[in-house]
Structures are given as structure tokens and as C-alpha cells.
Amino acid sequence: MARLTSLEDLERYRQEVLARRDPKKPCVTICSGTGCRAYKSEKVAHAFQAELEAKGLAGKVDVRRTGCHGFCERGPIVVMLPEETCYLKVKVEDVPELVAETLVGGKVVERLLYRTDAGEGVVHENDIPFYKHQTRLLFHDNLRIDPTNLDDYLAVGGYGALAKALGSMTPEQVVAEVKKSNLRGRGGAGFPAGVKWETTRNSPGDERYVLVNADEGDPGAYMDRSILEGNPHSVLEGFIIGGYAIGARTGYVYVRQEYPLAVENLIGALDDLHEAGLLGENILGTGFSFEILIYRGAGAFVSGESSALMSSIEGKVGEPRPKYIRTSVKGLFDKPSNLNNVETWANVPLIISRGAEWFAGIGTEGSKGTKVFSLVGKVNNTGLVEVPMGMSLRRIVFDIGGGIREGRAFKAVQTGGPSGGVIPESMLDLPVDFDELTKVGSMMGSGGMIVMDDNTCMPDVAKYFLEFLADESCGKCVPCREGVWQMLQILTRMVKGEGREGDVELLEDLSTTVQDASLCALGQSAPNPVLSSIHYFRDEYRAHVEEKRCPALVCKALTSYWVDPDKCIACGLCKKNCPVGAISGEKKQVHVVDQALCTKCDTCFQVCPPKTRAVTKLSGQPVPKPPEDLAVRAAKGKKG
């Protein structure tokens, strides 16, 4: 495309793009986010192209690979435009039928629709319960955009906010607008973005930088990835506006190398922007010049911390430094630097084009706008959800998430990743925003939301998070390096059944020291999962220490497998599948687990027929001796 040299040029080009497009022309959109790709969406896209070719429809129907739709559980997702008929879990074999029935015949293929509990098919994506309760501002356009096509983004009004900022607002006005919107950083701590922008802008220096933090390292969170992969221009537009407002000429995007598709889409987007004159020297003829550089992270969780991230971009070890002087005053290459995460930047174009008041009208008193959560774990509808701040956990987990898998009971939800905490059932009605989550001992973090059912053991989960943090601690300061490690030792002996009297109190004591004395947020927040789970599930910790019992029957060392002689039907499945030959039994004889040989791999428990449920897990009690008479007493097929 020709370089756009003025604001009018951009508008004219946008109209050209729109004029070239017929909104009534059929288009098959295939979600090509990482989740759907893993479910072979690329093969489905190829199959559509081949089938359209074969049926002589190639020029009459468009095929578009779009960004993530969020309902990753049911991928690959295919939406047929203009009717917006939404098909889930589409396989290559389904393609000929979809072309013949829907594209040619104009009929809906019932079997690939979403089904409600009552068995009714739902035709449109927005009517599916998973989507119905969401407010999708950041994800709204993903369905219509091929992330590799700048025209697609322009067609939905893209770079209109940049044009508005450059054409009719001073940098100070942009900062004031963001401040007024009360946008808080989506990366974790929730610091007001506008305040940070202002500090950076007003800090003395001849040069200043802006940065995108796309080092999304929280295990269980992937919303930034999906935004970058699915709609990279929304982030870049916000970023360029930020550069203008803060007075930067150079911006850095720091993205994990583990997200190759995000890196690829970003590089492509930057090339397109240069070509279009939306990046580089004299953007749109306004005299504003801005460059963006991409830096890849090499796999260090702690490098997502602002000062560590900046060290990493300087080519050094990505360790945090004490922040007596904030990075907004002295950051990258010792210049004033403003760092915000992906989701924060993606909100900026919305605020500029629709206004701070509109934005501040969404959400709660202290937290404005929407938040994207990665709703994962033991919930039925896993995926990315975007809701207004203040929605209750109950609505997120049950209305959107569809409740707990396999009809099990809800136990807790972990928000904020390894630095966050668990929230128990009694607090399900908590409105989710920055301040409420902090009040109950958790935090917003970047938006991971891991749902746990009654099969989850709290000390085990706390141990898991500490293992992660002990591994990722950079080791620079003693409280984090040694403190987290010691806490991990205590939890490890607890789950092994070697817990000592006073261990729970010792954990609490150590936690306070680690919180108070650590250098950066990694250490300061590391005790959160331990403290919050002790607070809400103290009995469970006690049971591990005092009774050597794991109430959730998870901790291997505290659990035994036993075949209930009153239920066993001698079907032989457990014996056949046991990998270590620990189960003995003959036809019509009750099977017996040899406790000395058993490795507690759980195989027998899983293969034991649901109608029988003879294999039982025991904890905190001795395993009953096998009966002398081994003859089977349960009737086959009888419910136990």
C-alpha cells in the first residue's frame, strides 16, 4: 500500500478498504488462536479452501483466519458470516457438509452448534451462555480480524484513536484523558496508568522510553498472548498513542520467546505499519516520529518485573533492582521509562476514541473498565473471559464457566497466579476488582483464575506454587532465596506425612519475614498462596500435621488404595491395568492390593467401573486386612 502522509489520507484509505468490501459476501472465519491451532484449526482452514475450490465457490466466499475467540475448550471455532452462525469443535470431515448445507443451502447444521443443558442448539456466538454474560471490549473485534492483515483492523475503525490523538489532542491532553479514565495497570499491582504516564513525561531527561510488558509468565494465564496474537494492532495503536503522550521516540515490546506466534504477528504488524506510514518518521504527516523494537525474553519469570525487564533489554541478567528511584524516573538505559502490560495498552485506543467518561462508566468505584481472565482448571467452560470489573466470582465460575467439571463440588479459586491467593466458597459472591481481591488476601495479578474442585489438596497446591517460585527466584536477595526455599521444605515434609507440631505457625511466621524483607514483588507476594490457604483451610493443614491425613486424598504418602470387599465384582480390570503387579485376585474372588508393592499411581482407581467403585482411597486410617473368605459377595452390575 502507498504510504499515508496525512490524517485525511488515513480516512480516505479506510473508506477505500470499506468500499472494496461487501458486508453481505459470505465469509468463513476460523479461529486461529493457539488453542484452536492445537486442535488442528489450520487443517480445517485448508479443508475449507479446498472444498470451496472444488465446488467452484473460491471467489464467492472468503476464508479468514482470525484471532482467539476465547472459548478454547470447544475449538476449533468456525463462524460463518454474514449470518454469524457459530460452529464448535469443527473437524476436517465436517467441512463438505458445512459448505453444502450452510453456504450453499442456507441451512444450519444442528449437530455442530452449542447445546444448552435443555438440548437446544444455539446459532449465534453471543447467545451461548459462555459469551452472553461477558462484556467483550478488547476481544470484540477478534472475530472480524485476520491479525496479519492491517486492512482488517482499519475496517473496524483501527488507528482512528491514534488519528484523533495526533490530530486534535496535545500530549498533555492525552495523559489527562487516561488519568481521568482511571485506567489501572492490568499487569498485577493495578497502579493508575495515567499517573505513571505523567511521572514519566515530567521526569527530566532528553530521552524517554515506553515499554510493553508481554512477558506473561504466570502459569495458568494466557490472555496477553491471545490479544497479541489475535489483535496485535490494538496493542500497538495504544502503544503509539502512549509514546506520543509521554514524549518517547522509541518503544520496546518485551515478549516471551515461548510465544512464537505472537512474535511473528508482531513483526508482521510492525512491517505493515512502517509501509503505511503509521510508524517511523513523521507519522501521518503530523511531525511525530516513533519506532518500536521487539525484544524476546529467554525464560525467566522474574524478568517480568519492571526493573528486571529493563535489565534484560539492556542485554543483562534480568534481575530486579531496589526501586528507591522509580523506573518512570530512571529506567531503561537510566532514562525515564513507562512500562505497561499488553492488556493495559490495548485499553488505550478505546479510552481515546470513546472518551474517559464512557470508560469510567464501566466497572466499580476503584476499578474501571473490563478485565480479561483466563478461566481454567476444573471448570466446564475453560477459556478467556472478559467481564466488567466487579462481577462476582460466582457468576464468572458458574454462569460463564458453566460450573465444575464432572459435577464435583467447588472448593476454591486461585486468582493472581503464584503471587495470589485462594478464595473459598464462602466468598463466591465477592465482586472481583483490584481492591476487593486484595482485601481477602489474594490479588488481581494478571488475571489467571484457576478453579479447584474438592479433589484439590490445599497444602499440595501451596507447595506447587512455592516450588515454582523457589525455582524462579533470582537469588539476589536472601529473604526470597532462603525464605521461600525453607517454606517449601516445611510444606514438602507436611505432604509427605512428616509434618511437625508447630509447622503451620512456623509457616505463618516465615511468611511475614519474606513479605517484609524481599527486594521485589516476587518475594513480597510469594507467601500469599500459603497464607491465604492457611487462613481459609487451616483444618486441612492441621489434618496433615496432626493426623497425617490428607482430606482431599491427594497426597500420595498419606493415601492408600484398598479394594472394598463388599463392592468388588472381580472384574479384573484393576489387576490387569496395575503397572507394578500389586493387585492379586482370581475369578469370582475379591481383589487385594499389596500395600508394600503399590506405587499409588491411581490407575486402579480410574479403571474401576463407576457402577462398582470398589477401589477406595483411604487416608489417616489403617488399611483393613483382606477378608479370610475372598469369595465375591457383590452382585455384578449392582450399584455400590
Binding site: 475448550e73 502459569p219 494466557y222 529467554a298 541478567v317
Partner: protein, 147 residues
Amino acid sequence: MPVDHIIDRYDARREALVQILLDVQKELRWLPRNVLKRVSDRLGVTLREIYNVATFYKHFSLVPQGRHQMSVCVGTACHVRGAQKLLDRVSNVVGIQAGGTSKDERFSLHTVNCVGCCALGPVMTVDGEYLSNPTTEELEKVCETCE
């Protein structure tokens, strides 16, 4: 020296050290000492500093890696859905433990803390391709396609 083209791509800038090492790691699958020496000479950074960086970031390896990379995600979402069982299964199929490389340098097996597609958990990648909770048979099939 074969890595010069990578160093040239970044104009031998000191601050590009991490990026250069990432590209070397991608091309050679590890960071041999003679290569790091070359990077040290060209960038004017001490070898000590380079080893400091190379050992800090998880992605870098100072020993040869297999031709095919297997990573099992042990992030939280995968953990609660049985990542350990998947890891055991993969270990069984390729005959190496996490962190190891097979003797013929065909496979390396690692654990990673979240690959960012939690909805599919437990999930793993083979040379960057995602597999959602593959069975033993599926894993064997995938291995056959890896030379």
C-alpha cells in the same frame, strides 16, 4: 565463524546479547564454549558476563540438546488436570527423564511453566506443535515421525 551472521544482524551491539544468544540457541540447539568466546570478543563483553546471562535464563543450554524438543507444561492449570501423569507417560515413551537428552540426541525432554494454552491442559509441545493430553499410542505415533 558460523555465528558471525547472527552477531552482524544486531550490529554486534552489547545490549543485543540476550537476543543473539536466543538466535544461536535456536540454530545450534545449545551454546558451545567456542561460540560464546566469539560472542564475547565481538561484543566486547567478558566471557564471565556471558556465562552469567547464559545460566540465568532457562531457555539456554550449555550442553547439546536433542534434534526434537519435547516440553510438557507443568503450569498450574495443567498441574490440576494431571500434568504429572502426562510427563510420566512421555518419559516412558521416549525413555528419558525431564531435563534429559536421549543418547542418540534424538529427543530432549523438558518441563515448562505454562505454554499459554491452559484450556487444553494437560498439554505438551513437540518441536513447537501442541498436543492436548496425548495417549501413549499417540505419543508413539508422533515419535515415529521424528527422525
